[in-house]
Symmetry: C2
DNA sequence: TATTGTTATACTCTATAACTATA
DNA sequence: TATAGTTATAGAGTATAACAATA
């Protein structure tokens, strides 16, 4: 439990992160916006998976995931194979072209971060990464599984 | 300077923060989306200022700032007074209604964070806040002031 | 000429809801 | 009935470029 000004400050820093993300996104190829890059990165790291798992890793609704996936599939970077265990599902996996693209993305991403964070210690990078993971978990824990009954947004 | 996997991981955590921001945004009044809330918060913290300074604090283009400001001005939460020193400029300041709204926002924001971060130590909150500030500065430092000659985005 | 701010336009990302097809 | 995934629609946020007024 922390005092109010502590939270206010954290809130401000959180909103300002948008600028950092946008700056990083500038290094992406035109054909591959951030959403697509995230799909490729996760498939590269965890290997083939179903839509639902990808949506969870991306931390967005499955409808959104579906669009990102369609985008990268249209460009031949991934394939959607039928799932033998459940014919409603599809298994996603990188194609060789997808792996190539991912390599490019990874190089650019690393180069950009290496540039901007050139005076950061390894410890600082690790610590920030760890705290962000913890933050995400703290929020994920409490988030109710999406229900069919509705609204969460508080009226004015 | 840090190794590649370190950066990959940080990149992933950074993109996943979106979910946290969206979750926090759910506690906002319908009339007051995140952009408006940010405007009020900054005017509340730093006092009256010009558009250009607000844009810098928000870390977005002034055209975007202009729209957010128009939204909150339309609702009577801020006023735009002429700047006696430079008639191109306008000075922004909270109205009493704006201060009321800001109080509400602040309460909800704090309550939400207090809930989600209930098992965080004060130190963790401070550390995350400090690292995010540092991150933002590292990016801000290198960002070239917006030029009239153009493109930054790398072609595929 | 350069700068402050506004507006028009276009693009990305997101969620909700309705729908299809399986289970 | 319930779940996996798709699509249609709508809304928030952003940037670029063209513009007006002033410096």
């Amino acid at each position: 439990m922390a005092a109010q000004p502590r939270y206010e400050d954290l809130g401000r820093q959180l909103s300002a992160i948008g600028a950092v993300k946008r700056e990083l996104a500038r290094s992406l190829p035109v054909e591959c916006p951030a959403g697509s890059a995230a799909v490729l990165a996760l498939l590269g790291k965890y290997g083939e998976m179903r839509m639902s798992r990808l949506a969870e890793l991306l931390a967005v609704d499955m409808s959104v995931t579906s669009r990102h996936v369609a985008h990268v599939a249209d460009r031949g970077w991934i394939e959607r194979s039928p799932d033998p265990d459940d014919r409603r599902s599809r298994i996603l996996h990188l194609t060789p072209e997808g792996s190539d693209m991912l390599r490019t993305l990874s190089e650019r991403h690393t180069a950009a971060l290496a540039h901007y964070l050139r005076d950061w210690s390894d410890d600082d990078v690790d610590q920030l990464s760890a705290l962000l993971t913890k933050l995400r978990n703290s929020f994920g824990d409490c988030r109710p599984a999406r229900s069919h009954t509705s609204p969460t947004r508080t009226p004015a």
